[in-house]
Symmetry: C2
Subunit: 336 residues, 2 copies
């Protein structure tokens, strides 16, 4: 089965995307379809001596059009349907012979969500696709929804709960993942009316190992394998976490540059520091899937380099190999 890669999406496209695809072919034994500008892609292949790696296992579907960060997301369905992302989505949606297993893009997130929902479409009885992102704290915690839907409904939160559980089980091998609801207090009466109702639904759903409400102060300590929230709150949590990372980086840098003693200190602690920085780097964790869609659609970070693209392709491969979508289909019927 082939993985479709949007070669033109992302801040460092197409160079880092093509290099990432080559890394994936080398290390992960996958077949790739690159969608994008054939001339540019071929130039990158020859300039970086990637033809031995890519020519055998990779096809290129040509288009010159790209959907940019400024384009209206929904334009991927009409005005920009012939962009690399639009064509990639259509190939995945129209595939009748299971030729294509999944799609990876580092492009416009809103357009990818719109395309996943409107072109590839949601699984039967799944109300909303949700973005599932692994937070870079002590141990892996899945934040779902990390930004796809701003509106909050108890029924969506319940579905995010079982979709997140399936993902953590399938992809990270956690047997009965714990699920918490992000809320402004521990008691079940906390939050809005939708939170109170969601607490009830999550408690009652047998296939969800619900551990209750999780407060903001507990998020860094990984109180559950899955953190359920609406896409507005999830977006704030995710971006605030990214912001903290760079804020701390700057603060530490100025701390170490203060005088000759702190400069010596910086040299002594360098290895430890790099390890620490790496643990907070989102590129380590690969892409983030839109769960609830009929086929795996993986969003790679907009600033993805080759290594991040490769990790996102690995994530896509895991989703295919573990039959993630099929399991969500089954659970969406059980938990209807």
């Amino acid at each position: 089965m082939k993985i479709i890669v949007d070669a033109m999406g992302g801040d460092k496209a197409p160079l880092e995307i093509v290099k990432g695809a080559a890394l994936a072919v080398q290390e992960l034994n996958v077949n790739i379809v690159l969608v994008g500008d054939e001339k540019k892609i071929n130039r990158i292949i020859s300039e970086n001596n990637l033809s031995d790696i890519l020519n055998k296992n990779t096809e290129i579907v040509h288009t010159e059009k790209v959907i940019t960060m400024e384009d209206d997301p929904v334009s991927v369905v009409r005005a920009n349907k012939d962009s690399s992302m639009g064509i990639a989505l259509k190939m995945l949606a129209d595939d009748k012979t299971d030729e294509y297993g999944a799609l990876v893009s580092a492009g416009n997130s809103g357009a990818l969500l719109a395309g996943a929902t409107l072109i590839v479409k949601c699984i039967k009885d799944i109300k909303r696709a949700a973005l599932a992102v692994v937070l870079p704290f002590e141990r892996k915690t899945l934040l779902i929804d990390a930004g796809a839907n701003v509106d909050i409904k108890a029924e969506y939160l319940k579905q995010f709960g079982f979709m997140g559980s399936i993902y953590m089980k399938k992809i990270f091998g956690i047997e009965s993942p714990t699920v918490g609801l992000v809320n402004n207090g521990a008691e079940k009466s906390k939050g809005t009316a939708e939170h109170v109702e969601a607490y009830k639904l999550l408690s009652e759903t047998k296939t969800i190992n619900f551990v209750g409400n999780i407060e903001g102060s507990d998020i860094t300590m990984r109180p559950s394998d899955v953190l359920v929230t609406d896409g507005f709150t999830g977006n704030i949590i995710l971006k605030l976490t990214e912001g903290f990372g760079s804020f701390m980086g700057k603060k530490l840098k100025s701390m170490f540059l203060k005088d000759i003693f702190t400069k010596v200190s910086a040299v002594l602690v360098k290895d430890s520091m790099n390890e620490f920085k790496k643990s907070l780097d989102p590129a380590e964790y690969g892409g983030a899937p839109f769960l609830g869609v009929k086929k795996p659609v993986i969003k790679a970070h907009g600033s993805s380099d080759a290594r991040a693209v490769k990790n996102a392709i690995r994530q896509a491969k895991f989703c295919i190999d573990t039959k993630l979508v099929e399991e969500i289909e089954i659970q969406s019927q059980i938990n209807k």
Copy 2:
């Protein structure tokens, strides 16, 4: 004018509260009324040799009852109205002669909010009282609402905008404070329908220097003097920030304890590190007011020590001296 202090509220009450009151009397030239268990308070005064400081400028209003963290917040109005917090709130509300200027408590936040709203009551035409907290980043940023109201309405957000502006102007001397709306993207179409409407209202309000939507990733960089949000999102931002501080503390500690080189490094960087820790310490910034209430009600952190209590009392004194409430009353009529 006297400042009423709930002597029994907080994890370290009454010891640290009484010591904090003594610090305030010494350093800030204020008169204090301590509400709480007279015997316990007097024992602390004598054991800590505070009688010279406190006896002249402090009265004690006796009650043995305390509202705990486990008590239902609304009980402060009825079942727990004779608790130290309940009596303190009633004294502030019933004061006809301007004897009492403000109230400080480190006790049950929910109860203090309920009491502020139901006993002291909101200013005319202010829909909701909001908790205003200074975030510990590069420069001072006021988060409003940091947790009082979980429901979001555009009209509330507009009022939080001008109340926060007045606070930053009066207390921190910022001439025309910039106001941003926490949202999941920069465009004015972002967020829920209430966010879109709030963007419009904030733009149209002449006394608010609105600078647009602020994303989570920008919060640590202080993109505006005032950050407007609903109390649910605000609670998550505030607590996640606190959690991130202690997470980083632990991470850095383990980084420095790794081997002999990193241990030497820790010694070299110690002063810098302490300064950095201090800048992230909420106790540095004193208490957080519930804005929109008829008289200043200041929430001190539950874990407040004497220094934090003193800083909260200083905050209360600033609110009185700068006629904060009177200014909010005027603006609530102008911006009706």
